[in-house]
Structures are given as structure tokens and as C-alpha cells.
């Protein structure tokens, strides 16, 4: 699973960072981005969904099909 923050939609509400600081970071202006290329470590899937469900701007999305390869890069199944 991977999470993605749409920088054009993020207005810095900071809801994702507050709920799931393991998955999101904020810059000096308060805008969010996904950590580690958005890869969601095992066990944090619910937190990722919680972040999506709390973004007032609909700026966060989840790609359920993205599987992580052994070197940490996501690979989409064909």
C-alpha cells in the first residue's frame, strides 16, 4: 500500500501529520508530504486510511495495488 499527497490540493490542515506522523511529514510552511515515497509499512494500513478519511481537501489518496519490492521501491502489478 502507498499513500500520496496531492500538493495542489493540500492546504496545510495538518490532519494527516497529526493522525499518522509515521506516514506523513510537514514542511516549514506546514504543507504535507508522504514519507518514504509513500510506502506504508505493514501494520499501518489503518492509519493510512484514517488519514485519507480526515483530509478536508481530499488531498490524500491510497494505491492499494502498489506492492513494495525488496529494495523498498513500489512496483505496480501489470
Amino acid at each position: 500500500m502507498r499513500v500520496h499527497v496531492d500538493a495542489d490540493k493540500c492546504q496545510g490542515h495538518n490532519r494527516c501529520y497529526a493522525l499518522a506522523p509515521e506516514l506523513f511529514d510537514v514542511d516549514d510552511l506546514g504543507y504535507a508530504s508522504a514519507k518514504d515515497d509513500g510506502e506504508v509499512p505493514a501494520g499501518l494500513e489503518d492509519k493510512a486510511r484514517l488519514a485519507v478519511a480526515n483530509c478536508p481537501e481530499y488531498a490524500i489518496s491510497i494505491d492499494d495495488n502498489a506492492a513494495a519490492t525488496s529494495d523498498g521501491h513500489a512496483e505496480k502489478p501489470a
Binding site: 496545510g12 490542515h13 510537514v26 514542511d27 516549514d28 510552511l29 484514517l50 480526515n54 478536508p56
Partner: protein, 401 residues
């Protein structure tokens, strides 16, 4: 003070958000309008529209082409300061000016800048409640909530904390006395202007590490800010965070006073606090914003005329049953909560991280001191009217009655 206007006859065609009925309990009004309109209009204030559904409020908040933020407080007059800067940048500014003016301020209000203010806030909240220890009845608005945001913003701006009463007067004049004649409002603004000028002079003579000195030295696009820009922004920072956060703290205590199950759960499960804060912000969002219509324009069948107001009642959007399950209930551990208490789009409340921290710390400290409490006299609770709604008188009976 509100109630300078005649009473409302019909909320769909003659509404007035400064009416005491709205201040006391707006929820049934919104339910009624959701069924009947859902966008109400009133000829008061020179023409004002009131969308109620989340969908409409969001659409207008996002539409900076047809709506200007030149003034965000509905009054009898129209803004004196020209677009795109407006009187209190960046809240009163339109793109592209807005973007740069806001960018300047964002670092000071980012989560990482606000975090270090938490110990100061916590110690001040403790000080306030230590001072009322042993009193059987505490006014949670007058003796607690109203002091917290004032103390913190005075600290951030580098203003004397002993001027707090004056700050609250400025807030009252700007945000609550919206139905007063234009002349009275201009006189009131002159008081604020005079106070801010003196503070600016003092900071010019004695620069220090605070937001006022930062703004006096700041540049936008390689140029120093104009005195109007600096003054307008300082006025905004002083006023915008005070009665808004005070309202959110008070409304949350009002709720917890009447819902022992929620109160006891928060005491037993302090980890719930982050979700609870968002739910209390959803259910009792204090702030309604406004826009002006730029040119004649039809929105969802409503013929909006140039220079008419449009209210953006985020508190009503937050109670929309089409958008939220159990919209009218406080679900203290609500997991899905895309509430709009801090607005939507480019004008998202600049101070939201500060407000959220103050609200959480204020409630944590209150519950540590007073795990059990109830309303001392429900009939004595008084709510502010206008565009910022929250308890202004809130007598709380401490302990189990």
C-alpha cells in the same frame, strides 16, 4: 452585542446571523433551511446569501473567481480597503497577492513552530485554574477560556499581556458588533488602529524576537511590506485567534459538562483526545466566514448581485447529514471526520495548528483539575452572536453535585 436589528420574521428570506435567536441556538434554523432552501437570502446588510449544505459552502470557498475575500465580516458597510490586499492581509486578500502574503506567515504557524509553545500554554492554563481552586462554581468562559488565546497571541506578537482587556474589546468591536451603524464601527476601528500604531512605534524603537518585529522587517517580492500591510496583518493576528479559540474551548467544556459519558471516557482514555478535539471542532465550529460577490452571477439558481455578501457557515456545513453520518450527534471517537471548522481552500485558518494546540491543552488541563463538573445554571449560559459563536458566560459547577 447583537440585537440592534429588528427580530427576524422568516429565516429563509429575512435571516440575520446577529439575531439573538441564532446566537442562542442556530441548529434548528439550519435544519429548517436545509429542508426549505437550501440557500437563503436576506435584504439585510445590503443583501446577503446563506448557503447551508456542505457542498455549496465548499464550492463557494473554492471559487475565488466569482467571490472576493476583500471583506470577510458581514456588516452594513462595504470594505474601504481595495482588493487584492484588503484591510487585513492575507484573510482579506485575493490571489495572487494572497499567496505571497500568506506564505510569509505560514512558517510562524506551522506545526513545528507551534509545538514549542505548548509548555508555556500548559503552564498558563494551570495558573488560571490554580487561581480558582476551591471555588464551587467557575465561569469556564470568563475565568478560563477567554484568557488563554489572548495570553498566547500577546506573547507571539510581543504585546504587553496586561492589555488583554483591551484586546478583547477590539475583538468584540470587530466581530460581534456587526449590526452597528458604519460610523460607530469606524470609530471603534480607530481605537484599534491607535493601539497598534503605538505597538509598532515601540517595536521600531526596540526590535525584538517576535512576530511584530518579523513583519516590520519582512519583504515580499523583494520589497518591504507597506505600513498598511504590516498594520492590517498585525490586526488580523491579534483579533482572529482570540474569540475563535475562546469559543471552541468554551463550547467543548459546555458539551462535556452535559455529557458525563464523554467526559469520563476522555479522563480514562487520554489517547482519545486528538479524535475528540476534531469532533468537538466539527460539532461546535465557532467560525462563519464571508465573501463578496465580484460581479452579477448565478450560483445554483440564485441570482447573486455584485457586492452582495455570501456567508460561509462552516458550522452548518459540519452538521450536514448528507456529508456526515449522525451529523447532529457528538461521536467522541469519530474516526472519519473531514470537518471544515478551519475553512476550506486557500484561506484555511492560518492559526489552525495554534488553535488546535490551545484547545487540546486547555481541555487536558481542565480535566486534570476538574474530572467531574456540570452546568451550574443552564439558563445563565450566554452565547455570542455574529460570525463567531461560543459561550461568553458559562458557569460550571465543580465536582459531583
Amino acid at each position: 452585542m447583537t440585537g440592534h436589528h429588528p427580530p427576524v420574521t422568516d429565516w429563509a428570506t429575512d435571516f440575520d446571523h446577529a439575531d439573538p435567536v441564532w446566537a442562542a441556538n442556530p441548529f434548528p434554523i439550519w435544519d429548517d433551511l436545509r429542508r426549505r432552501c437550501p440557500i437563503a437570502h436576506s435584504d439585510r446588510y445590503g443583501g446577503v446569501w446563506l448557503p447551508i449544505r456542505h457542498e455549496d459552502v465548499a464550492a463557494i470557498a473554492y471559487d475565488t473567481d466569482h467571490f472576493t475575500s476583500q471583506s470577510v465580516i458581514v456588516t452594513e458597510g462595504r470594505p474601504l480597503a481595495p482588493a487584492p490586499q484588503g484591510i487585513a492581509p492575507p484573510i482579506s486578500s485575493d490571489p495572487p497577492f494572497h499567496h505571497e502574503a500568506r506564505r510569509l506567515l505560514l512558517p510562524a504557524f506551522s506545526p513545528k513552530a507551534i509545538g514549542p509553545l505548548e509548555p508555556f500554554t500548559r503552564s498558563y492554563c494551570n495558573e488560571l485554574l490554580d487561581a480558582v481552586a476551591g471555588e464551587p462554581v467557575v465561569d469556564a468562559a470568563e475565568q478560563y477560556a477567554q484568557h488563554i488565546p489572548v495570553r498566547i497571541i500577546a506573547h507571539m506578537l510581543g504585546f504587553p499581556p496586561e492589555d488583554a482587556d483591551e484586546f478583547r474589546e477590539f475583538v468584540h468591536d470587530a466581530l460581534e458588533s456587526v449590526d452597528l451603524p458604519v460610523e460607530t464601527r469606524i470609530e471603534n476601528f480607530a481605537k484599534l488602529d491607535g493601539y497598534l500604531r503605538a505597538q509598532v512605534e515601540d517595536h521600531l524603537a526596540n526590535p525584538r524576537n517576535d512576530l511584530t518585529t518579523f513583519l516590520l522587517n519582512a519583504e515580499m517580492n523583494g520589497e518591504p511590506l507597506t505600513p498598511e500591510h504590516v498594520g492590517g496583518t498585525i490586526a488580523l493576528l491579534l483579533i482572529a485567534g482570540i474569540d475563535t479559540t475562546w469559543s471552541a474551548i468554551g463550547a467543548s467544556i459546555w458539551h462535556l459538562a452535559q455529557h458525563p459519558e464523554d467526559r469520563r471516557r476522555l479522563v480514562a482514555e487520554p489517547d482519545l483526545m486528538p479524535l475528540a478535539i476534531e469532533e468537538l471542532l466539527r460539532a461546535y465550529a465557532p467560525v462563519t466566514m464571508a465573501r463578496l460577490v465580484k460581479e452579477d452571477f448565478e450560483f445554483n439558481g440564485c441570482p447573486m448581485k455584485k457586492n452582495e455578501w455570501v456567508l460561509l457557515p462552516f458550522p452548518a456545513a459540519n452538521r450536514d447529514p448528507e456529508f456526515f453520518d449522525r451529523a447532529d450527534e457528538v461521536v467522541i471517537d469519530r474516526a472519519e471526520n473531514r470537518h471544515a471548522a478551519f475553512g476550506l481552500g486557500i484561506h484555511r485558518c492560518l492559526g489552525s495548528n495554534l488553535a488546535r494546540m490551545e484547545l487540546r491543552v486547555a481541555l487536558e488541563v481542565w480535566l486534570e483539575h476538574f474530572p467531574e463538573f456540570s452546568l451550574a445554571d443552564p439558563a445563565a449560559v450566554r452565547w455570542s452572536g455574529g460570525q463567531v459563536r461560543g459561550p461568553r458566560t458559562l458557569p460550571i459547577q465543580i465536582g459531583i453535585p
